[in-house]
Symmetry: D2
């Protein structure tokens, strides 16, 4: 058996460290020394240095450390000095703490179903404390799995009340990731600002083509030969947030709008599932309006 | 040996018939009877009926007919009656008549090189009577192949004189296809109207994303995860003509603008070559601002 | 509304005709005249002529015909003469008659789930009268949908008894398609012969690579950079039947066997679903040990 | 301007270090400290730990170091102690020293042309001191570029004399990479052993499918729906060496053998070019009969 297979048996002893700081010599040496000195064995590391005038450095470590949960506060305390010296932005995350994800959905359930499926088969390591929808359609899918389902009717006239209720639930359930699995309501700036880089949306086009409503209809009218889907973090610029993943499928002149939608749903499913997976594994760093994805 | 292998040995006996007409019962029967009665054996046929209120019918036949060149005027004459009965728009083309293609290029020669390569290896069945460029870069590639190279400096202030010279050459060389193989000058409406559905351009983005200038720079700024290229017929709406073919390649955060361009060139090469090939084989029918491609 | 949208509203008036015969001039003319004379309007047609010494011709028509079910026996009767004249092998199928499909599955349910999902959303136009498994795993997925689930334990020592029971069920339920959705038992020649070109299997490799058992383990050992899946009709040569569809996904050195299996399952799902769909739409003609797929 | 853009302007100051050793805590810390202490700034690093009982660790660094060429012998000397402590296999390579690559080709020149093209446009950072062929076909492509072309007729009866001549040239030109760009002669064990992991071949199938001769003919006979190409290091097991890269293209029943070859050539071109590029950038580590590719 490999040493890593052993490591992953002790899930509670796996941690991750993400760091962003101005680039200068010695960062990798300092960080890897720190981890070594604290008994942490590096399982995976990925780095990236920005190729622009910002000259920033980004690194992600996944490590194993015996009795990590006992040592973590000591470790995080000791890190302060190093972080200050290099002006680091950083995050320690711990594998034993699952992210608590709320899924928002409207009428089309294919993305929701893909997420639930991947979650049931152990591929999405998260808690799903609730599903929220502005339609009743998904209830029969969600409740048999023991997940609370909240039906909150929504439209643009009652947006504030709707979001007040949603926000209450987010707090009640202590949510740290919101997944918009074809949720067809726009969120207000207020709401979005509460969850920076914590809301993942799936847009049913290859952005920046067909920003906004009815992308498949517009793709049909334009006569494109490929259709796509885009998963991105939600910001207050509609469909303009940092892109996490995109994919496409080939179509031709015979494909009418319903067929484009059908083909597109397959793309949406896999693009959203990948983006969520990478987020859960802390593989994504947001840099300006882009993502660095260490996969 | 198959009967078709035999047919293709007699290239001069291969013809194509493209038809567009209002959809109604009996079209296929009438057309296939016509071909049979004239001794034409159908090698390939493809049809499409529009799925909208226009209710149009489109069909392409490729056929073999002994002594086709002797029979063709009789055949075309006989067709008039049938065409009138069904209100057909149609084109007869003959395999022995190669399309005469002018290639326009600026500084970047990768698309030109791909076309020349495919042409030399027999995969693009066309004549290339000349190459026109607003730079001298391509001369050393073109002239060794015995193809006349015309250097015509261009910029937006002298557009009319430039196009007058170009048009003269198009007429002198009896050109029926213009391939813009990364030709970075905009053509005037006057020029474009002279060649309806006869000018093929390669745009270095996945249209309709990044219409206009500097698409790779904008793709980089937007942080897309796939970059693409689009081949389309040129109309007077910039980058808005009927799309013939598109393809993409995966990129990631490490790819800066020069790397995106490099990766993109590979996509541009193959997308343009495919579009030109289908045009040469009369596989494309333009319907409004879209293409039907029978491949 | 297009005429075809209207046609498809009358599902019972949609029929298909598949023909295979020695190639000679006039087939398309004769067939399309026949359909026209019987009031059938061609919606879609695809043809193929073999490019070898067999010189065979293959064609598929999908057509609309008012009161088709009343006319069908007359039409089929009238066809006999034409069929004899051209020595045609042919099949008439009718859209109102759904194929009755039995799904066989073992422990891994991802392919079964994909089929059920596509079936529920209306994309697989078939009846599923029963699911058979040599494990109990799938029962809780199948029974809530109202589909009878038969648990028939199996191993190579009791193969004959097992197949006797299975055959009885096939007859009782009047099955005309068997889908092996990761059913890990080998079928005997006797059984296979009863269902020529009616058993579709998904093999978890890019055939002919990794024929037989444990393909992911062997892919891992060989260090391949892509893994695939293959859907094929079952014959008595193990994993050697006519291939219907194949697809692949990229992997790298970090992917161990469990990860390869996980990635592979995504490919298996979509490859099997596509193959089944094409079979249900009568798009597949078997020619020797290959398939012609008119998609 | 980014610091890395500056670094890459000083090509002679870019170095790479590849290390393989038994996995144990502290390797990354020790190596990154070593580089930092010697004034080397890490530009890129990638690591991999084997997921099997071998428990090996692999890492690749690309770094910038002022006056690297003056410092390199000191650096390499200092490294001995560290290497011994961790039982490291390692290689230092220097960006200013281009690999000297001999290209072997037979009659089909498409892979050769792709390599020359990529090389001319600066994407393959190597020297090409000579091209060797058992046919005269490629001479007119190679010589105009100022590259010596050696015509050495070959067949299995004179294999030893042929290889003696080839070996002489390899030594005369001080070759450290051999690229078999569709060279259709088998090399003897003697020859292969002289160049361990230094001979890159392109095989015209998706290995391990269609090992050996005539893969496209066999792909056609089997009726596959995808065809592929595989680039691998050459060992003495025919077509069994460590796979570097693979890719595929979709085909269908209409594609006869010449069309499969034509489509396949496009795949071969890009697969070989990628493999060579990664080798030139020291991105490949061979582990048993597999490759770790840090791209």
């Amino acid at each position: 058996m490999s040493i890593f297979t052993q490591y992953y048996k002790e899930k509670e002893n796996i941690g991750r460290l993400l760091v962003k700081c101005p680039n200068k010599p010695g960062i990798v040496a300092a960080l890897s020394k720190f981890l070594f000195d604290h008994g942490a064995d590096i399982i995976e590391s990925s780095q990236y240095s920005s190729d622009d005038e910002s000259n920033m450095f980004y690194i992600r470590f996944e490590y194993y450390c015996e009795e990590l949960l006992e040592k973590r506060s000591q470790m995080e305390g000791d890190f302060l000095e190093l972080a200050a010296a290099f002006k680091m932005d950083y995050t320690f995350t711990y594998n034993n703490k699952q992210k608590r994800s709320a899924i928002f959905v409207s009428k089309e359930v294919h993305c929701l179903m893909e997420l639930l499926w991947e979650w049931q088969s152990g591929d999405l390591d998260m808690d799903i404390p609730l599903v929220i929808s502005n339609h009743e359609t998904a209830r029969e899918i969600v409740e048999p799995l023991g997940i609370p389902f909240y039906y909150i009717p929504a439209n643009k006239d009652i947006r504030e009340e709707v979001e007040a209720k949603q926000m209450e639930l987010m707090e009640e359930y202590d949510i740290d990731l919101l997944i918009l699995a074809r949720y067809m309501q726009i969120l207000t700036p207020n709401f979005v600002e509460r969850f920076p880089n914590q809301i993942i949306n799936i847009h049913h086009s290859f952005l920046p083509a067909f920003i906004g409503a009815r992308p498949y209809e517009r793709a049909y009218e334009r006569g494109v030969k490929l259709i796509g889907a885009t998963s991105h973090y939600v910001t207050n610029d509609l469909d303009e947030g940092p892109i996490i993943e995109q994919d496409i499928e080939r179509v031709d002149h015979r494909d009418n709008v319903p067929m484009l939608k059908k083909i597109g749903q397959q793309v949406e499913r896999r693009v959203l599932a990948r983006a969520v997976k990478w987020h859960l594994q802390d593989r994504i760093i947001v840099k300006d309006n882009k993502t660095i994805v260490f996969h």
